[in-house]
């Protein structure tokens, strides 16, 4: 799509022939991909051997639609943009709009786009509305490619200087944007429960999003600042959650007393993991941390007596207002939250309180990170990320530096874990799978490494969006994976990317943007 091939031969290739070639290739590929996997759906009925049902029409439509899009895309490379614009727009209208109607279960969809008579062909290619939506979005990309090629034709080719200037402008915009967006997001987050939209469902979703923002900021210390790729971050989250669960169930401690203990224990685990793996670099470190995360999860599953095994631990004490419970009928002579403030009892109070607690915890994480960046230890982290050998030569102790990064990151994960436990009132190993680690890492990287606001944006996008799109049910995680790939392809450096070193030798003189070596 984007790769411009230089025409080496004496004759310039004919656009139509080239596009047709591409389309035929795409058709063969799509057929290979879809023939068995989509063409035959295996099913296991009770007490029978496995059988299958065929879905040839879906295969045929895919083999037609995707190469058609590819054909139009290739044409745009030869400045034939009109077919792509028209075809893309038509495809988008034809597939996307009815598809969305179908997903939202608008009655119009049932009347117009679904045929009851099996002999009469359907108007839409695919039976599932969501599949039509996905293909409609594909058509939109064809349209976008056509429009972009048209604009490029009028602007003309870019020289290197122009492109560099554009990149510098982008970085500046990102930076300005994040300095505006940061306070704005915090303000919106603080007042949202008091707005008409701040119902329980939204606040619940936001609590989840904020938990991931906090985890993202915590992991940012390890990955973004110290440059240590950690794929087992969820292990510390689990340690925090189980620590609070055990403290609350066995010792009867409340959330506020347990929080520092959980953080300390998680940090200890961070150091315990950090010690043996200090000598490793880059991807070796990644795989060992991944293994460590899995080990913790397997132990949680199998150590029945202590962790409750796969069933987890229930009846964890709910959060209280600094010692004052959120209860409808408090014990004789004791206060409850609503009696203290003279309010009517409402279960929403606790949700709102949880929401502000997680915002406070997340902001503490953010504040500590920002302050530490300007302290010697933060400088050492960044220096270590850029060049470990040089660090050693300058007398920075890599062992201590790495261990503090691990410990701090783990501590914040431990806090987040305790919060998770008190919110759910229940913990089980299922909540701490590898995919969680992957999602947290994706939030850090998609946000633009090192950018605090970017992390928050990525968390809203990756966690909030799927929650809002609950209707997609089965397609939710499919879309999630697809969006992850798409964002990375469109913005390889992250949503808000500007990697400016915190300190520079010669004042404000711009350094060339460093892209390589983010994680060694």
């Amino acid at each position: 799509m984007t790769d411009m091939t230089l025409s080496a031969g004496p004759k310039a290739p004919s656009p139509l022939v080239e596009a047709a070639k591409d389309a035929v290739f795409a058709a063969i590929l799509v057929f290979l991909l879809s023939w068995l996997m989509i063409g035959y759906q295996t099913q296991v009925l009770q007490g029978q051997p496995m059988s299958y049902v065929t879905r040839y029409s879906d295969v045929l439509w895919a083999v037609f639609l995707i190469p058609a899009g590819r054909f139009l895309m290739t044409l745009t490379r030869f400045d034939r943009t009109l077919p792509a614009v028209i075809g893309g727009a038509l495809g988008f209208i034809y597939l996307f709009i009815p598809g969305v109607l179908g997903v939202l279960e608008v009655p119009v969809y049932g009347e117009f786009f679904v045929t009851v008579d099996p002999l009469q062909p359907d108007i839409l290619p695919f039976e599932q509305p969501m599949v039509n939506v996905i293909f409609g979005i594909g058509a939109f990309f064809v349209l976008a490619a056509g429009l972009r090629a048209r604009r490029k034709k009028t602007v003309g080719a870019q020289t290197l200087e122009v492109r560099e200037a554009a990149e510098a402008r982008q970085a500046r915009i990102s930076k300005n944007l994040s300095s505006i967006l940061g306070p704005l997001l915090i303000a919106v987050a603080l007042i949202i429960p008091f707005t008409p939209w701040g119902d329980r469902k939204l606040v619940d979703t936001l609590i989840l999003v904020m938990t991931y923002v906090m985890l993202g900021w915590g992991l940012n210390i390890v990955v973004g600042l110290a440059g240590l790729l950690d794929l087992g971050y969820v292990a510390f989250y689990a340690v925090g959650a189980y620590t609070y669960a055990k403290l609350s169930i066995d010792l009867g401690l409340d959330f506020w007393a347990s929080l520092p203990i959980a953080g300390a224990i998680a940090a200890t685990f961070g150091v315990a993991l950090g010690f043996p793996v200090l000598r490793l670099r880059g991807d070796y470190l990644a795989i060992v941390t991944l293994g460590f995360g899995e080990i913790i999860r397997i132990i949680l599953i199998n150590w029945q007596i202590f962790t409750g095994g796969p069933n987890g631990l229930g009846n964890i004490a709910k959060i209280d207002f600094f010692g004052i419970p959120f209860e409808r009928n408090p014990k004789e002579g004791e206060l409850a939250f609503h009696t203290l403030f003279g309010l009517d009892f409402s279960p929403v109070h606790r949700i709102y309180f949880l929401y502000y607690v997680i915002i406070a915890l997340a902001l503490v994480t953010n504040f500590v990170t920002i302050r530490l960046r300007r302290m010697p230890i933060g400088r050492a982290w960044e220096a270590l990320r850029e060049d470990e050998t040089a660090c050693r030569a300058l007398g920075i102790n890599p062992t201590n530096t790495k261990l503090t990064a691990f410990a701090l990151g783990a501590m914040f994960a431990g806090f987040a874990g305790s919060f998770f436990a008190t919110r759910q009132g229940f913990v089980s190993p299922e909540s701490f799978t590898f995919i969680e680690s992957a999602v947290i890492l994706a939030i850090v990287v998609l946000g633009g490494m090192g950018s605090q606001v970017g992390v928050a944006l990525a968390a809203i996008l990756l966690i909030g969006l799927p929650e809002v799109l609950r209707e997609l049910s089965l397609y939710r995680m499919l879309v999630f994976g697809g969006v992850m790939v798409l964002i990375m392809l469109l913005r390889p450096k992250g949503l808000l990317s500007f990697r400016v070193p915190t300190i520079q030798l010669h004042g404000k003189k711009a350094l060339p943007p460093t892209t390589a070596g983010a994680v060694k």
């Binding site: 296991v44 995680m477 390889p492």
Partner: protein
């Protein structure tokens, strides 16, 4: 020698499992060797290979093909070709546009692809596990314990898996060392920019690496379908992580290393389950990995990295 028959049986089981890990690990190790990234979607490509083999087997039933060697051949060939197409597509969509991007970018697209493929298979083939009756059963009895209480069995399927793995490894080593494609791959591994200056088509070579890795993963998937006969959309995850562990264990970037790592991991797992506890077999596998990396950070057969300043 009363302990020996039981031990031998576990060794055989471990070898079989390890062969499968090794076949998947080759895909990881080759990709890592050339472009230095962990292809997290590889485990899911293996899962797709297993599913396609299973569907071919069902189709054989419909078409009335009941001669077992032909069935086996069809499953292997069709699944290899179609899974290779998946390997190629994953590389083309998710990794090729990101060449030269920050190092973590392809890692994230790989994770995204992995999530996408898992859910894609869950959608098109259903979330429930697919049991399939075994077509190759039976085997030979190797020895019996002196009191007759335990007989060591070597199943036909285990023989096929081990032999196929050995043959494939031999063929693959020849491919890498003798053919022009193999030479191009080794050139890209050493210095991609230089190789492209000297006329190696780097993009094509990388694509071929993914195609070959996916083909081998499809063979592993076919074997697993025939051996265990219970496929589900989530099976690629753990197998993928184990195979990557095997690749790191053997020394990433080294083909014999991947095989050695796979076999070692399989044997350790089998013995650990037999003598200690089956629940903690994964802990044992990762524990060994950590130990090896601490004492020999480049893996068993890996070359030490030269550090450039």
């Amino acid at each position: 020698m009363d302990w020996f028959p039981y031990f031998l049986q576990q060794l055989i089981n471990g070898l079989t499992l390890g062969s499968i890990y090794g076949l998947i690990a080759i895909g990881y190790t080759m990709v890592y060797g050339i472009i230095g990234m962990v292809n997290f979607a590889h485990g899911d490509v293996y899962m797709i290979g297993a599913f396609q083999a299973m569907i071919v087997f069902l189709l054989c039933g419909t078409l009335g093909i009941s001669w077992v060697p032909l069935q086996l051949l069809l499953m292997l060939v069709v699944s290899m070709v179609l899974t290779a197409a998946y390997g190629w597509t994953v590389e083309r969509i998710a990794y090729r546009p990101l060449r030269g991007a920050p190092r973590l970018a392809p890692l994230i697209t790989a994770i995204g692809m992995s999530i996408f493929l898992q859910n894609y298979v869950q959608l098109v083939q259903g979330p429930r596990p697919k049991p399939i009756e075994s077509i190759i059963s039976g085997g030979v009895s190797l020895m019996t314990r002196s009191d007759g209480s335990f007989t060591v069995q070597l199943g036909w399927m285990q023989i096929i898996i081990i032999i196929a793995t050995v043959v494939l490894m031999a063929g693959f080593t020849l491919l890498i060392t003798r053919t022009s494609l193999g030479r191009a791959q080794r050139a890209c591994e050493q210095d991609m920019k230089m190789a492209s200056l000297l006329g190696v088509n780097v993009d094509r070579t990388i694509s071929m690496t993914f195609v070959m890795g996916a083909g081998l993963a499809a063979i592993a998937g076919t074997m697993v379908t025939l051996y265990y006969g219970n496929n589900d959309f989530y099976m690629g995850f753990l197998a993928g992580i184990k195979a990557f562990t095997a690749a790191v264990l053997g020394g990433i970037g080294s083909l014999p290393g991947a095989m050695l790592g796979g076999v070692l991991l399989g044997v350790i797992e089998a013995l650990w389950s037999a003598y200690f506890s089956a629940e903690y077999k994964d802990v044992a596998a990762f524990g060994v990995l950590v130990l090896v990396l601490i004492f020999r950070p480049t893996g068993l057969l890996g070359r030490p990295e030269v550090e450039k300043v």
